[in-house]
Amino acid sequence: MSRTPRTLRRGRPELYSDYAADQAIWNTPAKRWSTLVLLALALSLPWFLGRDLLGLATLVAVYAISGIGLNLVSGYAGQISLGHAVFMGIGAYTAALLGGSPQGDIRGFELDLLIWLPLAGLVPAFVGWLFAPIAARVRGLYLAILTLGLLFVGEHVFKEARWLTGGSGLGRKPADPVVLGFALYEERTILGTEVPAIGVFYLFALLLLVVLAVVARNVARTRQGRAFSAVRDRDIAAEVMGVPLLRTKRLAFTLSSFYAGIGGALLTIVFGFVTPERWNLLLSIDFLAVVLIGGAATISGPIIGAAFVVLMPRFIETFAGSLPGWFVSTAVGGGGLLNVFQLQRLLFGVMIVLFLVVEPRGLFGVWIRVRNYFKAWPFSY
């Protein structure tokens, strides 16, 4: 038992007298305050943005959830996975089956969100758990190919299981986000202002993101989280130190799939409709981009990355009009060198290349650089 007067603590941010403070996520006042301000800003968006931009904001939150999931397995544990889209798909269809309404041949049980949302995470997690022992046998390039195989199997199953997915090219409606009779996708008056349906859902997605991000951050700093990093940095060395490889990789895949499933379920609700073709390689690559551009092995990284990947196409679309017509055509059938969609994909690719070469730690790494510049002030190191 000891008492430390305030005068002995104030203004000494680096003096830690217990491990809890030393290891805290928000270990400095600056981090605490900036997080609170950012959160308040994010919470206030439904009262400022229009329907269209709120849709994008929701997409950012959903992409971030899935991105964090992929980061757990690929960023922290270093197990490259191209199969992320499949786990998202499994989550999406679990949700649609349990929470959606039946349409002809397509099954639906119209259950409550409190049932389908957890299961939308748990079912993919179980599949991930089953899949992990196979994935744990290989690494690097082989693992990438192996997960690619999983992707093809998944795509085939999704296309054929008409009772579940509506079949190739047709698709089905997603689950209804209703909690104990309270619809989350419905226009509401909050704090005296009309908030559009997507705004309400945005708040829900944001809440989920915050909870899941904090959980992931905490996982990352547990013994298991450190085991992830150990496996990533050198699996043989990790095993020699007593880190069980199979169990660690399995946990990484399971956790990652859980996040993917939740993300997939929410994604379908944002889109309002879902076809089996959506869960393809391109989507997986989108999420690899979220992780790489945002910053591998961080939690803030995928959130920044999600914002970047979701908002950049819109940004290009908005400013394509100011580019010369011979270069980019905004109208369909225009005579430019590229159309807007091509420009988007092209820039996307260029971005990934640039980040890998220039700043492998992603946008978060850029921030770290800026922060360190001022942290080292007035010196350079």
């Binding site: 038992m1 000891s2 008492r3 430390t4 007067p5 005068t7 002995l8 203004g11 000494r12 680096e14 003096l15 830690y16 007298s17 217990d18 491990y19 030393d22 002030w377 007035p378 010196f379 350079s380 190191y381």
Partner: protein
């Protein structure tokens, strides 16, 4: 005035008890048992130690030592780096009315033997395998030594020696003994007297073997009253809200005052640095409010700032350059104003604070420093001005072991650079008219050297005046300027008296110079031996893409010789013609305590340098150029040590 009143009341015997370090700690433990009073960094965390913990450990150590046979008046040695156990042992020994004898962690085995023999220590508290090995190597030469208590069992656990006992066992014996005789310390406290010798502080001994100065309870209480309660060390006086970092050797009187006395007197929270190498990092974490350092540390901090700036980015360099110019102005203004801010400098400082000063002070761990001190050796005025400029006012203090570190201090707002300040309250100070020696008299003056009545008689006059051995002079009738140690003063062949330390200190303001020894006694002109600062010169050489291998190789590079020549020339400009150095030679190795070139307090032992590097000196005065060095025009490498790549051309 009120401060001296409280100080006076603190010395009075309260409740029939003499106020010892032990009773002070016990009172804190009774008044505020759960308040943090010390922190020690272990396993990456600053572990809290409360007053109750502190006193409990003191009791256990005292009872344990008693159980091992220590009785009032016995000597107990402590051979450890700064750590809480040092204080537990020190205060525990005091509680038993025994005598603490501190050893420097750098003391080599022969010196350990001398100190143990001379003091007749019955028990030695040794920190770890390193110190235990030293003690075991000489244990047969020390017949009085009965036990060696070790703090760190690592490496020592397997030793099979009948005199070894782990610290844990000592505490356990203490626990058992406390159960059987719980009133022991209360009885001891009742019996304690003002004239009890509480500690032997061995003086560093630049000449001859170290002498153990005996300080009594009265001396220590006076030291605490003046240094702690009357702003003698830090002004305004230290309080419970203050934080310090303990890193200088505790067996030195200055650090004893800064750590043990500040803590026991005012309840200052002490943080123990992990080691001398981590002081910079620890400072940044702890951000002390009070900081005492020796000139060498201040020089190192100032040089560290310069070195880090060399490799900073362009914008940061510009920012630094601009605001350091302003700081130089502020420093000069404050120096001209007795250390006070003027309206203009205050304003300039406020503007520069967010741009540079705040961050800079934060990085060097001085952001919260409200009072800083420098002592134990003379410091160059340029260094003080530099720190005044960036907002860390350093007040030079003068004192010595023999007067419980109480003599003079530069008071806040009455600073005169180049002086050691005004006499402390309650201190009589005079300067002998014929010899110029400074004499002090006050209740803190020691009672004599342990077992050395002759040396005591030389130093301590019968009427209570202490001969400090320093030559001084009055400045403006109020402040005292130290000229030099009497025995160091150089008398040239021309009959001129020259104080070498002033010249040496100016040389050492260069970040590239670590050691300088000016020579010229009974010679026609002055010369100097220079030792470079490895870190900074290595960095300098790297930036010039100058390849080198060892310290000696670097030292003897023509480019480095040119660099040193520049420093010497620069210093010469500041001094009169007879005080200018004509030649210099490089010291080919880093000076070291173990090799007998430095004292435990890192002071150069002139006599041993004269012996070891006599060939360099004859090289200069014999007008030869066999060894690396130069004069004011040319430089030349060593003849016997020509780097291979230069032989080719």
């Amino acid at each position: 005035m009120s401060q001296t009143m409280t100080a006076a009341s603190m010395t009075e015997e309260q409740g029939g008890e003499v106020l010892t370090l032990a009773t002070r700690i016990r009172r804190f433990a009774e008044q505020d048992p759960y308040r943090v009073c010390m922190r020690e960094k272990r396993f990456g965390i600053w572990q809290d130690i409360t007053w109750a913990d502190y006193w409990d450990k003191v009791e256990l150590v005292a009872h344990g030592l008693y159980a091992l046979g220590i009785r009032p008046g016995d000597r107990v040695g402590i051979h450890a780096e700064n750590r809480p156990e040092w204080l537990y042992a020190d205060v525990g020994i005091t509680a038993l009315r025994a005598i603490t004898m501190g050893l420097y962690p750098t003391n080599p085995a022969p010196e350990v033997a001398y100190l143990l023999q001379d003091s007749g220590s019955r028990i030695l508290v040794a920190e770890d395998q390193e110190q235990v090995d030293k003690a075991l190597a000489v244990v047969d030469e020390c017949p009085d030594l009965e036990w060696i208590v070790y703090l760190e069992p690592r490496g020592v656990r397997d030793y099979d020696h009948p005199k070894l006992i782990p610290f844990e066992d000592l505490l356990e014996r203490g626990r058992v003994h406390r159960g059987s005789d719980p009133d022991l310390l209360a009885r001891m406290a009742q019996d304690a007297e003002e004239d009890d010798v509480v500690t032997l502080i061995y003086t560093s001994g630049t000449t001859g073997p170290p002498k153990g100065a005996m300080l009594t309870n009265r001396n220590v209480s006076f030291g605490i009253d003046i240094l702690v309660f009357s702003g003698g060390l830090f002004d305004p006086s230290a309080s419970q809200d203050d934080v310090t970092l303990s890193y200088l050797p505790l067996c030195h009187v200055a650090e004893r005052a800064a750590t043990v006395w500040n803590n026991a007197g005012a309840g200052v929270t002490v943080h123990f640095a992990e080691s001398i190498e981590t002081v910079q990092a620890n400072l940044k974490e702890v951000q002390p409010t009070l900081f005492f350092a020796v000139p060498r540390i201040w020089e190192k901090i100032a040089a560290g700032i310069q070195i880090k700036m060399y490799s900073a980015s362009r914008i940061k360099k510009l920012n630094f350059g601009l605001w350091m110019k302003v700081a130089a102005f502020i420093g000069a203004q404050r120096v001209a104003n007795d250390g006070n801010h003027t309206l203009l400098t205050r304003l300039l400082y406020a503007v520069g604070y967010p741009f540079l000063y705040r961050a800079l002070r934060d990085r060097i761990g001085m952001r919260k420093v409200r009072a800083a001190g420098s002592g134990a050796a003379p410091i160059a005025p340029e260094i003080l001005q530099f720190f005044f400029g960036i907002g860390v006012p350093i007040h030079e203090i003068y004192g010595m072991t023999e007067n419980a570190a109480v003599a003079t201090v530069n008071r806040r707002g009455r600073v005169k650079l180049g002086t050691v300040g005004e006499p402390q309250p309650g201190t009589e100070l005079r300067i002998d008219e014929t010899s110029g020696e400074i004499l002090t008299r006050h209740p803190g003056v020691f009672v004599g050297y342990w077992n050395k009545p002759e040396q005591t008689a030389e130093t301590l006059a019968a009427d209570g005046w202490l001969h400090t051995g320093d030559v001084g002079e009055w400045v403006d009738g109020t402040h005292v300027r130290i000229v030099d140690r009497i025995k160091d003063i150089i008398i040239t062949a021309g009959g001129k008296n020259i104080s070498p330390s002033e010249i040496e200190n100016h040389l050492k303001t260069s970040p590239f110079v670590k050691e300088a020894m000016v020579i010229g006694d009974r010679q026609a002109y002055l010369t100097v031996l220079i030792g470079i600062e490895m870190d900074t010169v290595a960095d300098w050489a790297q930036r010039r893409q100058l390849p080198y291998t060892t310290y000696r190789d670097l030292t003897e590079k023509p480019e480095v010789l040119k660099l040193v020549q520049g420093v010497v020339a620069n210093t010469n400009e500041r001094f009169a013609r007879v005080e200018q150095m004509r030649k210099f030679r490089m010291i080919p190795k880093e000076l070291d305590h173990e090799d007998g070139e430095l004292t435990a307090t890192q002071k150069v032992k002139r006599s041993s340098l004269n012996d070891m590097f006599g060939h360099l000196i004859t090289d200069m005065y014999g007008n030869r150029t066999e060894h690396a060095g130069g004069d004011l025009v040319d430089v030349h490498p060593s003849r016997d040590f020509v780097p291979s790549h230069e032989q080719e051309d």
